[in-house]
């Protein structure tokens, strides 16, 4: 008889479990039919939130800006500032600097904002800027490429002199990178109390790789923000980050995966910011492999890529095709369709035929009894991209094999030289010469495939010597187009940055550089 007594609570528990599991079914359907009601939004109706919560894949691990990536988080969250920054259109604007002037080909003079000061109230003078940059140079390895050619000295209290080792360098551009964050070099950065930066928000509490809390910096030199507090929170799982915005627990979710776009679009409570960044998803080819030494094979690969389809399948339509590497930079937008203007499978086939790779009976390209195969390595969120490329190349009769894994696998393969192709996305924002020589000069750090082309080298040489802006631009375009024709790499499209923003937050500015303008002074909460 007691048996029956025990069965009832069990049933209740079961029903509860089943209920919880099936609970989402009707709701997801509701979303598909775009039902207007939404609970989290109505929750926030009643009162305007006091703090802005930003969910990020990772947050700072330390407070000292010389620690790897810490300065990037500090700039993004509004705690730290650089001398210059890029505006959303890609122009360099002064921040802590007031103006910058090239005195001659190797000397710049930078005037500082007269009223700029640190959190502590200490005035920002040229000495302290030099001290900050020198401290970074000494302790932060990542700053090296930005300032290794620069020497800083203070001329007077508010003027900074920068000497460059090369002629015609764009110093403000270099000083807009987050690594050059200006901090009080005398502070110790071992605790929240000992930090001293210049931003509009000051850190009030910090748990490494968990949570950073900030409040308005009362000593801020510029326009003070309206949202009183900001919380930067680490939520590693992308789906959870998305759900945290949906639930209203956070207001901005950074680094959303491409695959989440359809879900974000379906959600009423959030707006979606998808900014194609100034970088280019690029297939790097190993030119040491005999099959890729023939430019025709490389060109065929480039012709056979259907970028429109690729963008739908791998970027949920949130990008635009780019056929030359540099053209994802807004300044070189005219070169987007410069070379492989359309998807042309026939042309690709012809090129391969010419190169001796002919179709056999089973639809596979063969030469000397060997099939044409490519091992394409991908990492991070690029699996779908690799998979679609593989499918597109298969149409051409190429056996492509995708190997998706940790980035370190690509690194290891690169060191051993045992690779065919992989996908990476380098930034295309910066000085054209630095960018292009980094990619295509024989010694360039991004020239993975070992591209060494006489004409390219010559053009690069001319570029480095060109003294006026217009000729630099023209030469850069020429290099860009020439390289695309030679196809040591295949440019696809700019990678999008996807951010989910709660609908009751206003003033978020889309920006192609992920670390800039995440938090700005105009952000405010509104009733939707």
């Amino acid at each position: 008889m007691h048996r029956k007594r025990m069965i009832w609570p069990m049933l209740v528990l079961l029903v509860l479990i089943l209920g919880a599991c099936s609970g989402n079914q009707p709701v997801t359907e509701g979303k598909d039919s775009a039902a207007p009601t939404n609970e989290p939004a109505s929750q926030t109706d009643s009162k305007i939130p006091e703090e802005l919560v930003i969910a990020d894949q990772e947050i700072a691990a330390a407070l000292d800006p010389v620690q790897p990536l810490t300065s990037s988080y500090l700039v993004a969250i509004g705690a730290g500032e650089t001398l210059f920054k890029a505006d959303p259109e890609g122009r360099i604007q002064p921040v802590l600097a007031d103006s910058a002037e090239a005195v001659d080909a190797t000397t710049w003079e930078i005037r500082l904002k007269p009223d700029a000061q640190f959190w502590s109230g200490k005035k920002l003078d040229a000495e302290s800027v030099v001290a900050s940059l020198e401290r970074s140079r000494e302790l932060d390895k990542q700053i090296t490429p930005y300032i290794q050619d620069l020497t800083f000295s203070a001329i007077d209290e508010s003027t900074l002199q920068v000497k460059t080792a090369r002629a015609n360098m764009d110093v403000p551009l270099n000083l807009s990178s987050y690594q050059t964050l200006i901090h009080n070099a005398e502070a110790s950065y071992d605790s929240v109390e000992h930090m001293d930066l210049t931003g509009m928000y000051a850190v009030t509490a910090f748990e490494p790789q968990k949570r950073m809390e900030l409040a308005i910096n009362e000593n801020y030199w510029g326009q003070k923000p309206t949202v009183p507090r900001v919380v930067h929170e680490q939520i590693s799982d992308e789906q959870t980050r998305m759900l945290s915005v949906f639930s209203g627990n956070s207001h901005i979710a950074q680094k959303m995966p491409v695959s989440a776009i359809s879900q974000l679009q379906a959600e009423e409570a959030v707006t979606l910011s998808t900014t194609p960044a100034s970088n280019t998803q690029t297939v790097y080819l190993n030119l040491n492999r005999p099959k890729f030494q023939d430019a025709k094979v490389r060109q065929a690969l480039a012709w056979s890529v259907n970028r429109e389809e690729l963008i739908v399948q791998a970027a949920e339509g949130q990008s635009f095709p780019v056929t030359t590497w540099l053209s994802s930079n807004p300044a070189f937008a005219e070169a987007r369709n410069a070379v492989y203007a359309r998807y042309d499978l026939e042309r690709a086939g012809q090129l391969l035929d010419e190169a001796g790779w002919v179709l056999d009976g089973s639809g596979i390209r063969m030469k000397d009894g060997e099939p044409l195969n490519i091992k394409l390595m991908t990492w991070g969120g690029d699996r779908a991209l690799g998979e679609t490329l593989q499918y597109q190349w298969a149409r051409l009769g190429i056996q492509a094999e995708v190997q998706h894994g940790d980035y370190s696998l690509i690194e290891t393969a690169r060191e051993s030289g045992e690779w065919d192709a992989f996908i990476e996305a380098w930034s295309t924002f910066g000085e054209p010469f630095t960018l292009l020589s980094g990619q295509y000069a024989p010694t360039g750090g991004g020239n993975y495939g070992g591209f060494d082309d006489a004409k390219t080298n010559e053009l690069l040489q001319q570029l480095s010597e060109a003294s006026d802006e217009a000729s630099r631009h023209a030469l850069a375009l020429e290099v860009n187009a020439h390289v695309a024709e030679q196809a040591p790499v295949i440019s696809l499209y700019p990678r999008s940055q996807i951010t989910a923003i709660s609908r009751n937050l206003e003033g978020f500015v889309d920006h192609f550089r992920p670390f800039e303008n995440l938090v700005n002074e105009n952000l405010k909460f509104v009733s939707p």
Binding site: A266, E309, Q313, G386, V402
Partner: protein, 276 residues
């Protein structure tokens, strides 16, 4: 007293498995679509007449992929499990037979170390040393998975070692090898098989968990575990992408469970005689 239920369960399990295996291994005939064919116009479609279980983000038919993917999953998991069971049983049986010997002590320490080991690190290393592929993942799995079978076999063999049947075999002059294979291992086989059927589900899910590290089957060839891992990105707007692989995994595990339970009762010869 459960014999009828047991053979029922066994029959049901075998029938279900036959059905599943049938559906999977005749996939190219049942569902002649290309499991790799992408269709930009038909992305993430809900289940319907055209696509019974809907389509994935590339517009590929999920049913077709599930059926084709089953070949990879069933064969590879089956093989991995089989090797883990064989290694585990052999080492476990030897340890149980020579209980307390140096071999036993060393083996138990190895087992302790493996149990205390973060599997992820291990999988990463395997990927680094040999490259990423399903085969290497399964290799990593076997290296770690045999432990539970070895432990179980060891304890069962140790129990059986002191039984009258083994004493009798010794008195009859039976050699150790024969005792191991005729008296000890059959004792362990039933419980080990049952454990193996339960582990199969874990194995498929472990592949799902590891495929984001780049281990596991490589795109685009479908495989249940990585299909699940991929479907995760769409679980809110298109939960149906999880349905296909999840359903087949559940049914497979169910079938193996039933077979396991049935076998356990079958393999215990006294179960039926123990009436009253």
């Amino acid at each position: 007293m459960n014999s009828r239920r047991a053979s029922c369960a066994l029959g049901f399990g075998v029938a279900l498995l036959a059905l599943l295996a049938g559906s999977v291994f005749t996939a190219s005939w049942l569902s002649p679509d290309d499991p790799l064919a992408m269709n930009v116009g038909a992305r993430l479609q809900q289940p319907g007449m055209e696509h019974w279980l809907g389509t994935d983000r590339f517009g590929r038919d999920i049913l077709t992929r599930t059926l084709h993917g089953g070949q990879t999953t069933l064969i590879s998991c089956g093989l991995a499990l089989l090797s883990a069971v064989l290694i585990g049983m052999l080492l476990g049986a030897l340890a149980g037979m020579f209980h307390g010997s140096v071999f036993d002590i060393v083996l138990m320490r190895i087992i302790d170390v493996l149990l205390a080991f973060p599997f992820m690190v291990f999988a990463m290393v395997i990927a680094a040393l040999f490259g990423t592929s399903l085969f290497h993942l399964l290799f990593a799995v076997v290296v770690v998975w045999w432990v539970s079978f070895a432990r179980l076999t060891r304890s069962l063999v140790f129990q059986a070692k002191n039984s009258t049947a083994v004493d009798a075999a010794r008195v009859l002059g039976t050699s150790n090898t024969v005792i191991l294979f005729r008296e000890l291992l059959p004792q362990a086989l039933g419980p080990v098989l049952v454990l193996a059927t339960f582990e199969l589900g874990n194995l498929i899910l472990a592949i799902a968990a590891l495929s984001f590290l780049g281990l596991g089957s490589q795109p685009p060839s479908p495989e249940w575990g990585s299909m699940l891992a991929d479907g995760r990105a769409h679980f809110m707007t298109a939960p149906h992408v999880l349905l296909g692989p999840a359903l087949w995994i559940i049914l497979t595990v169910l079938a193996f469970n039933c077979i396991g339970e049935g076998l356990r009762d079958r393999m215990d010869p006294y179960e039926k005689a123990r009436i009253g």
